[in-house]
Amino acid sequence: MTDMPVVRAVGDSALLIDFGERIDKAINARVVALDRALAASPPPGLIETVPAYCSLLIEYDPLVTTQAELASAAMALAQTARAGTVAGREHVVPISFVDAPDLARVAEQTGLSPAAAISAFLAGCYRVFMYGFAPGYAYMGGVPPALHLPRKPVAERGHPVGSVIIAGPQCLITTLPMPTGWWVIGRTPLMVLDPLGERPFRFDPGDTIRFERMPPE
């Protein structure tokens, strides 16, 4: 048995179950396992849960249950929930590098040719760790080390929805035309956020993603 997570109070109506302080696949797998265990047998008063890189937030109704009851229910589930017993789904995401405003700069700063940078990116196996920032912003890890760059010092505007952006080990597909300080390496027609679709959010935390280059038009 691995060490037990730390329980932290978030005000009077939420708990944070903290499994570590690193962006790490094994730690995130424990977050996802507890998230699923809570969904399968929700304790009374549970409102919703938010999985993040290495912690799970549990929001509850303090007029229905207490922090102590919720914490003990969550810890009991954390003890039995086995990481990785439920496999995430796999998605293949089409990507085009034709309209990739930062590809040349990424290549230049990593010392790769643009073609080698593309190959490196496509060879990566990506994991959805969590959502955050804005609706449908799924934070993926798994960018190959050869492409790790710090974010730009200043966020830049004007990148359309569907931009595939990277910073350090992280990768995102944008769902809003927001400014970004990450590097725009390609573009995908896949909508992670399809607001009116039957499945508005394409990925779940724990899913794996592979990018596949689109045939040239």
Binding site: A9, A52, Q67, G132, P135, P195, P200
Partner: protein
């Protein structure tokens, strides 16, 4: 009956809100819904909109013209006042707007108020809710100058003054529960959080409100993003503090030194810009006790919300006696 309302002028934070959506924080979608839940509930109780929505008003208030039909409305919230074609109705009131009439709502001492209409809004729902997420515009939508709002099944409402809840004291400290990321701060930063005063600034939107004071520098900024909640006191890299509100980001990499207790989030959100405040550390148990007290007081307030007299009566009383009408249960025919 159908009513069409054309927005002549709307402040930048004006939006359609309902009670908010649950269950989508995991996908980056916060609950949204009203910043001031009591004022929102009061406007709904007074106007009984079929759709459960109200227009949330803030900086700059709102001016609209009724193009077609007639429709009752209720205005509730922190000192915001209404007038129809220049005739003052005061705050916390309900009335009916007729064709061609212009309703103007002026901002009050607080920052947020709610205008509910007696009818069904055609504003779009998203994920089962018409609450607007301001950043994306998803949900019922932001309300902008030039928009035409459409309501079906409209009803008039007898003009009446409504009993406003007692204004909370500006001096009362704001309760906080320490954490969840207090380990990212030196012990003296935690002490200063409750020893120093802070100022509620005029820099706010639906995501959060900036608080000014001595910077509380985080020890380090290498935290992987962690989930956030309404009420969290987030500290940026420069030591500045923001209280997260209805449209907060669902995760973030800045540490949260403490969380404002549920009973006090609205109070802080409504403080007039420039107000000085203090924080007070409380246990989770005490925070829940205060929430129970507040919930009871709010239920009483909503029960008492039956009109307390006609507007004419209120104006007369105010002018003659300067007192407050408290004719409980005086439903106007």
């Amino acid at each position: 009956m159908i009513a069409l309302l054309r927005i002549e002028a709307a402040g930048p934070l004006t939006s359609v809100q309902d009670a908010g959506r649950r269950g989508a924080m995991r996908f980056g979608v916060p609950r949204s819904g009203p910043i001031d839940r009591l004022a929102f509930a009061a406007a709904l109780a007074a106007a009984q909109p079929e759709c459960g929505t109200a227009i949330e008003l803030s900086l700059g208030g709102l001016t609209l013209t009724c193009l077609e039909g007639e429709i009752g409305f209720a205005l509730c919230g922190s000192g915001f006042t209404a007038e129809i074609d220049g005739r003052a109705l005061g705050g916390w009131c309900r009335a009916t707007l007729g064709p061609g009439q212009r309703l103007r709502v002026r901002q009050g001492v607080g920052n947020w108020a709610y205008l509910a209409f007696a009818g069904a809004s055609v504003a779009p729902a998203w994920l089962g809710s018409r609450a607007t997420h301001a950043l994306s515009g998803l949900g019922g939508g932001m309300v902008r100058s030039g928009d035409v709002l459409e309501f079906h099944g409209t009803r008039p409402l007898h003009a009446a003054a409504l009993q406003a809840p007692p204004e909370p004291s500006l001096m009362l400290p704001i309760g906080v529960v320490i954490g969840p990321q207090e380990r990212y701060f030196a012990p003296d930063a935690l002490e200063r959080l409750c020893a120093e005063t802070f100022t509620a600034t005029g820099t706010f939107d639906r995501m959060g409100r900036a608080l000014e004071g001595l910077p509380l520098m985080p020890l380090r900024l290498d935290m992987p993003s962690e989930p956030t909640m309404r009420g969290c006191l987030q500290i940026a890299g420069d030591g500045r503090m923001t209280m997260l509100m209805a449209d907060h980001q669902t995760t973030g990499g800045f540490p949260k030194i403490a969380s404002v207790i549920s009973a006090d989030v609205t109070r802080l959100a409504q403080l007039p810009p420039g107000t000085t405040l203090r924080f007070e550390t409380v246990s989770t148990e005490e925070a829940v006790r205060r929430l129970h007290v507040l919930a009871q007081a709010q239920a009483d307030c909503l029960r008492r919300l039956v009109p307390v007299g006609t507007l004419e009566e209120r104006l007369r009383e105010t002018n003659l006696v300067g007192g407050v009408i408290d004719a409980l249960g005086a439903e106007v025919p």
